[in-house]
Symmetry: C2
Subunit: 125 residues, 2 copies
DNA sequence: CTTATTTTTGCAACAATGTTGCATTAAGTA
DNA sequence: TACTTAATGCAACATTGTTGCAAAAATAAG
């Protein structure tokens, strides 16, 4: 099994995501890092962080991909909460306390879930 | 207000999507049309169809975008049902009868919803 | 501290997906 | 039939993500 190393890029990117209130996209991270590392490295670090369950990947209703770190990332690894995507300020937020409920026909085997709700967030309304 | 026209491309694309059991991606539609029209036209037609509420756009957990027409497209324009994305056969299906329930804090105004569940579909299990 | 090993990085190149401007074509209407 | 305007095709561009490979950096061992 491959082991992972703690590099500057990884630390910086994880810090950025952890300290952000909202989910961050690759390009947002890139401009925040301001040339610290290559574009490709950011992709690779993000993939590693997701694999190691340190952050989770959020796909919003537009198809845009963002990355977020939430409380459950540090504990239960349960990322099946709702994400809210604000149409005004474009922010994506984890609503950790909102657990959606649904019932699928028995024959479906669920392994992953992505629940995104779009609208206007409290700050913008 | 701009009005819309019924062109060959639009008719063909809508037919394709309507007659398909599963949601279709831009590239799937493109190869099905087999050169009937330009790549760009497909993008533009798909956007129009979504605006006119004739089909709906589904974003799966990978960030891939697909288009589907379901019963509710023809009636209530309620696209807030669950979509199931099979990790094996890569198909995306509307589960029209499954209505998820959730409660957001009052301050959030909801206008759109995208619920996608990944796993293994009945055919593949 | 130095060396050895293996992961990460940077760079370049590529692939997929989506957008825009503009001249031409075609749909709907009078 | 002719007119008006939406829709198309083409070319070019933008964004997002991936891959191969040599060079650099991080851990482990001596």
């Amino acid at each position: 099994m491959k082991q992972t190393r703690n590099t500057t890029a990884k630390t910086e990117i994880l810090d950025l995501i952890s300290q952000s209130e909202v989910a961050l996209s690759h390009s947002e991270i890139q401009s925040a890092l301001d040339g610290l590392c290559d574009r490709v490295t950011i992709y690779r670090v993000l993939n590693r962080l997701v694999e190691e369950d340190l952050v989770h990947k959020v796909v919003n209703t537009d198809g845009g991909v963002k990355y977020a770190s939430c409380h459950s990332c540090a504990t239960t690894h349960n990322h099946n909460h709702i994400h809210f995507s604000c149409q005004k300020c474009k922010s994506v937020t984890c609503l950790e306390n909102v657990e959606p409920s649904f019932k699928l026909p028995k024959k479906y085997k669920v392994s992953e879930v992505n629940f995104t709700v779009s609208g206007i967030c409290p700050k913008c309304s």
